[in-house]
Symmetry: C2
């Protein structure tokens, strides 16, 4: 009988999550039924949306209950299979969550190709974050050559892809990130035209200098004062993609945006997005992103912690912006 080591939701946080939000558990796995697949997880993805799953507020999917394994996507290796589509040794994308091993229904898994790209990329640039960038930018943002595109959390898993896609699409691209090191990476490696260090202060003045033609598309990952500052620079008929609000996730009182008048006066379109809504079009997005990656046109950076024990600290750091690139936990 196989054993899995799991991170379980232990205590509901009111503000910021802490290490004791989770606890480690060890569980025996049951025998496989027909259609089941036993997976050894290799990589676990950590993402800002996870904070929302720990809240009991109504959301687009059910939250995690106390005592349940924390949710998340992994890439793993098939150890044993009673599903004809998955042979031992195959690599799969799973929703098994924060654990070293797990049993999934074959219908819930998809194969990934380690020859095409490193396995961990299927949790990042070729996974949900990359697809979020792809569909959010193109479907809602509708960038046109010559537009100015601003993206917050610019060095992150989503923001870095948004900015590079916008750049490829002929836009002037301005990132917002925390700290000089991230900003240097955003401009010199990712190729953005400018990057604003929000920790350096003078956000409004910095933004004004970086967006002389105003802002046509704003891809929002953070919310809060940064959001209102960018909205004040948005042009008539501009588009804002509300993808993430990380600055709000750990607070008890949401930020109050004073930009409703700007929405009216400038006829801004503000639209929320969740990547699941384009599920039927994932193959298109993955193909496009993999193609750009193969051509060397998409740079990508990962931030890795090792071992399931480090997952809580990894998520805490991610929510505080301490990661640098896509945050992963290496499980094996």
């Amino acid at each position: 009988m196989n054993t899995t080591r799991q991170m379980v939701f232990a205590k509901r946080p009111t503000g910021a999550i802490t290490l004791d939000t989770f606890r480690l558990a060890e569980t025996k796995l049951a025998a496989l039924n027909d259609g089941d697949v036993l997976v050894k997880n290799l990589w676990l993805s950590l993402d800002p949306y996870m904070r929302g799953r720990l809240s009991d507020a109504k959301s687009y999917v059910k939250g995690v209950e106390i005592g349940e394994v924390m949710v998340g996507q992994t890439v793993g290796e098939v150890i044993e299979s009673r599903h004809p589509g998955f042979a031992p040794g195959a690599h799969v994308l799973t929703s098994l969550g924060w654990q070293t091993h797990g049993i999934a229904r074959g219908t819930e898994l998809s194969l990934v190709d380690g020859q095409r790209a490193p396995l961990s990329y299927y949790l990042g640039v070729l996974g949900m974050p990359g697809l979020t960038a792809y569909f959010g930018l193109y479907e809602i943002g509708q960038p046109r050559a010559g537009n100015t595109v601003v993206v917050s959390a610019a060095s992150g898993a989503v923001g870095s892809v948004v900015g590079q896609l916008a750049k490829i699409s002929g836009c002037r691209v301005v990132g917002i990130a925390g700290g000089q090191a991230k900003c240097d990476y955003v401009t010199s490696v990712l190729g953005f035209d400018a990057c604003i260090d929000y920790k350096a202060g003078q956000l409004r003045a910095q933004l004004k200098a970086a967006t002389p033609q105003g802002v046509d598309v704003y891809f929002e990952n953070v919310g809060g004062e940064i959001m209102d500052t960018v909205m004040a620079r948005m042009n008539p008929f501009s588009r804002m993609i509300v993808c993430g609000l990380i600055s709000d996730y750990n607070t008890t009182e949401p930020f109050g945006s004073k930009m409703t008048r700007a929405i009216l006066v400038n006829r801004i379109k503000v639209q929320g997005m969740i990547v699941f809504d384009w599920l039927s079009r994932y193959p298109e997005g993955i193909k496009a992103l993999a193609g750009l990656l193969a051509l060397g046109k998409l740079k990508y950076r990962e931030s890795v912690v090792e071992g399931i024990e480090q997952a809580p600290q990894g998520l805490i750091d991610l929510l505080n912006g301490k990661n640098f690139g896509k945050q992963l936990v290496k499980l094996a």
Copy 2:
């Protein structure tokens, strides 16, 4: 030589406008040049947007300067004409503002037909408010039969048309208005399914009861706490038209909306609108509205004050929600 009596912008308000925001002036009109038309104004329209013209904040059109005649649309009668398109006695829609007479370039005027509808209607149901309702609801709101549509300022010039159009389009329609008399009018005369009196308190509970299926389209004319309360009831993939924010117009500090997370989670599309953007399609809108009016399918109500001297009080009352239906000044 002809004389006009004008309301001139006298003193920039910081919060609410007051009677001394304007002053009455009497001016001699010049002789007509080629292409000019002398108009005697019959009706002056008062609209919430006028508050914005008295601010020196950047907006979509230039504000009024101190000493200038206050802006506004009128319907008037041609007295003298040096433009071939306008004969004396013809009725015209003008932008001559708050004055009894004025000289306009013929190119700035359009003829209106007093046989098709009362002249004042071209400032309301067949004018900017009606067109705002028509294009905002259909182009941005995209109502589908069975949707629940909520409209604030429901008894007003815009709101009353929005709700009736939505009702004709097969929606469940819920208005929000101030006071029982307006609510009675909204349900029994305009035919909305329900109307919520925001002055009666318990807005959230009232709204919940009136929208058992949530809200698919929200046509926003007021802003503030009412806006956030409705947004909290909005369904996945719902649409919000930001048309007016009257609750903010007289305040010095804008309302802080805490609903950005709802925009994300429910993938709400929030979009600002200004009716000018559909200028090229006005004939389509007027034709549609006039057709419904002729069939008796659009009810319409006016609130009239008499004389240019009453215009400032009329606007003050409008901004405080004391009007009941489209607010007009009868000038002759």
